[in-house]
């Protein structure tokens, strides 16, 4: 895929970071659970590679905060860190992991990215953003317990999106 195309796909993913939370905000209890802003960033990392994943992880939440006020500025810093790590790690793992079966590559890359993102964000939260009153318990509950449904939904949605995009010939097949 040419760099021009990767650049525009990243731009579209950044736009979706702003659009998806709004679109699903209207649907009762759908938006909050499945963390819509994470999907375009993870997808962008998987498809375009880590530099573009990083760009989406930074620009997505930033634009969304500016344009729709979601996430509010107070939560923006930790969100930028978490999503950037998602984008980078998803891109790196997608490049490294070649099991021969596309679905396995996707699962390993995604799970790796989701773990890494939460780990880094948790550490930074503890150290910088909410120094002192941040215990491991809060980190586990904050990032895993409540987000578990979101993680499971992402593990179902993202591979489905990748395969649909391949069928529609909008991205190259992983193995032909």
């Amino acid at each position: 895929m040419s760099n021009v195309k990767k650049l525009i796909i990243t731009a579209v993913c950044i736009a979706l970071c702003v659009v998806l939370p709004m679109a699903f905000h209207a649907i009762p209890n759908a938006g909050s659970i499945f963390l819509p802003m994470h999907i375009p960033v993870l997808l962008c990392g998987l498809i375009c590679g880590w530099p573009f994943g990083l760009a989406a992880g930074l620009a997505g939440p930033f634009l969304s905060a500016l344009i729709t006020g979601m996430p509010p500025m107070a939560f923006l810093p930790s969100m930028l860190v978490e999503l950037s790590v998602y984008g980078i790690v998803a891109g790196i793992l997608a490049a490294l992991i070649r099991t021969g079966k596309p679905i396995l590559d996707l699962y390993f890359s995604l799970i790796g990215a989701l773990l890494a993102g939460r780990l880094v964000a948790g550490i930074l939260n503890a150290l910088i953003f909410r120094a002192g009153s941040y215990s491991i318990g809060a980190w586990v509950t904050g990032y895993f317990a409540t987000a578990l449904p979101g993680i499971i939904i992402q593990l179902i949605l993202i591979p489905a999106i990748v395969f649909a995009l391949e069928r529609a010939k909008l991205i190259p097949r992983r193995y032909n």
Binding site: K5, L7, I8, A11, F24, A59, I67, I152
Partner: protein, 266 residues
């Protein structure tokens, strides 16, 4: 609902002093005032800031309704922050205690403090977004980050990426709304409790949105290449005009506010 969410940050073409400000001066002032919002804790500080924001809203003809309309959208969230602080933060002069709930004047003040900060941050960003075109914002960030270009970080491509993203937002927003309406008209149900079913219920909404968005990216790539885009090349940016008296006035006001805030809350 969707349209109002977009509009709290949408650029509204107008000819006001704020619109005429050089984007670089405007964004530097924006960041200075951002610092002021974060530093301010006292009621005097917040009232001064509130007056400044209201006059800016008036001066930029955006009007308070637009500037604060974004806040209506996160009303629930603000309430949550306020309650979290008011109920759990054990500040001075406790009023009432029960198990681990303890309401105190300090707690309520802390809750109000965080909530007000969020409101003012959103109002400030709304004023910036309605008076500055997304391209001006990206150009200014590209200018601020241009030293990184020497570290081979493609700052201009990043700025172009944001500009394309911003212009795609209204198109993709409207399209997602249509896709969601169309699929619910095909009886797509989203209220099933089981996780697996909920994920499957999201597929008919999420898949078409991504497919259509990627198809648009394909078409735009062709249009850009047809107009000579080569990617990566350092594109000559339009020259940015120098600072006028208006720009210097804006800068001095914001810096003065910042200095006052620092002194007041040391």
């Amino acid at each position: 609902m969707m349209h109002s969410a977009i509009l709290s940050g949408h650029y509204l073409p107008n000819d006001t002093p704020i619109h005429r400000l050089n984007p670089r001066a405007k964004i530097i002032s924006f960041f200075t005032l951002l610092a002021v919002v974060i530093i301010t804790r006292s009621t005097v500080g917040y009232t001064a800031l509130g007056l400044l924001l209201l006059s800016l809203a008036h001066l930029s003809k955006t009007g308070p309704r637009i500037v604060f309309s974004g806040i209506r959208r996160v009303g629930l969230f603000l309430l949550l922050i306020f309650l979290m602080n008011a109920l759990f933060f054990n500040g001075d002069r406790p009023l009432w205690e029960y198990a681990f709930f303890h309401i105190s004047v300090g707690g309520i003040a802390q809750g109000a403090n965080v909530a007000l900060k969020v409101i003012f941050l959103m109002a400030l960003s709304s004023i910036l977004m309605t008076t500055t075109t997304p391209m001006e914002i990206t150009d200014t960030f590209a200018w601020l980050l241009s030293p990184l270009q020497r570290l081979r970080i493609p700052v201009h491509d990043f700025a172009l990426m944001i500009s394309i993203a911003i212009q795609f937002i209204p198109v993709l927003a409207e399209e997602s709304e249509t896709i969601i309406k169309a699929q619910t008209a095909r009886a797509a149900k989203l209220d099933s409790p089981k996780l697996r079913e909920k994920a499957n219920a999201l597929l008919p909404l999420v898949l078409p949105i991504f497919i259509s968005a990627f198809r648009r990216a394909d078409e735009l790539a062709l249009a850009m290449e047809a107009r000579g885009f080569r990617g990566g090349k350092f594109r000559t940016r339009k020259s940015s005009p120098g600072f006028t008296r208006l720009d210097f006035a804006a800068l001095t006001i914001s810096i003065a506010f910042c200095a006052a805030a620092v002194i007041l809350h040391r």
